[in-house]
């Protein structure tokens, strides 16, 4: 393995790990924000609860 390849591979592992993680967090953030928006707009007397 040449130095350039090794450095590139090692750096990509770190950068890819961080970016993939951040992307996943951002996607979930958008989902939650959309849900919250929907909850606020159709706030009405609804009962999504199960009772035990």
């Amino acid at each position: 393995m040449t130095a350039a390849v090794a450095i590139a591979a090692a750096y990509s592992v770190v950068v890819a790990g961080i970016l993939l993680y951040l992307r996943r967090v951002h996607r979930r953030l958008r989902e939650v924000e959309a849900d919250m928006h929907a909850l606020q707009s159709d706030a009405g007397p609804r009962e999504p609860l199960t009772v035990r």
């Binding site: 609860l49 009772v51 035990r52």
Partner: protein, 234 residues
């Protein structure tokens, strides 16, 4: 401490949920010492949750409760000293004999070893040295009552105590209730056998879907009303 001997159990806005499942919605009650409370309601009404909250087995998600003035969260240990919960499972070790089970309970509860006397109370003297594994369901329930007897509770919580018991066995529940009452203690009884339960009770609380739907003295509740409450209708 607020009036020891005055109020056996009290709750203010007591509630519990399990994540999204609401088991008990804010409930308030006050049970004087020496009184017997009957809890009625269909399956899933929140009876067991209320008993377990008072027994310190569960922690409330809202509100507060106290047993003889002791808060169930902050003074849980003091509550455990005076309160005994007999749940729907008998809580006995199948591999031990009846006698050994009760001796263990006495040791853990910090009581003297009165296993023999307790066994006699529930009519199990003859099988005291048999492993609980060989017992019928009714005999195990009797043994659970013997455990409660031995621990001398000031507040006794009985969850569905009449199930699997024969006529004599049911009489034992009556005896135990009368015994606790005679020592100035209180009993809370959750049962579907409301006709039997109401005869012991001074107070009735009806629960449905986690809501407190009725609170009344036992004398003023009519049988049709009680049947409706037990069925979850208000």
């Amino acid at each position: 401490m607020p009036h020891p001997g005055g109020v056996a159990a009290e709750a203010h806005g007591l509630a519990r949920r399990f994540d999204r499942n609401v088991a008990l919605r804010p409930l308030s009650l006050s049970l004087p010492a020496g009184a017997v409370l009957l809890l009625v309601g269909p399956n899933g009404a929140g009876k067991t949750t209320l008993l377990r909250l008072l027994a310190t087995s569960l922690r409330p998600t809202a509100g507060r409760a106290a047993v003889f003035g002791w808060d169930v969260v902050r003074n849980a240990d003091a509550v455990r000293r005076v309160c005994v919960y007999v749940g729907t499972s008998h809580g006995m070790y199948e591999g031990l004999t009846a006698q050994e089970n009760l001796a263990f309970a006495a040791a853990m509860g910090g009581k003297g070893d009165t296993a023999r006397a307790a066994l006699e109370r529930v009519g199990l003297t003859g099988v005291g040295h048999h492993p609980v594994r060989t017992f019928s369901t009714g005999m195990k329930r009797r043994l659970a009552l013997a455990r409660a007897w031995l621990l001398e509770p000031r507040l006794l919580l009985l969850d569905d105590p009449f199930s699997a018991l024969d006529a004599d066995g049911m009489g034992l529940v009556d005896d135990l209730t009368a015994h606790v009452k005679s020592t100035g203690g209180s009993v809370i009884l959750a049962t579907h056998e409301w006709e039997r339960g109401v005869r012991l009770a001074d107070m009735v609380v009806g629960l449905a879907e986690g809501r407190q739907v009725a609170t009344a003295s036992a004398a003023e509740v009519t049988p049709p009303r009680l049947r409706a409450l037990a069925g979850g209708r208000t």
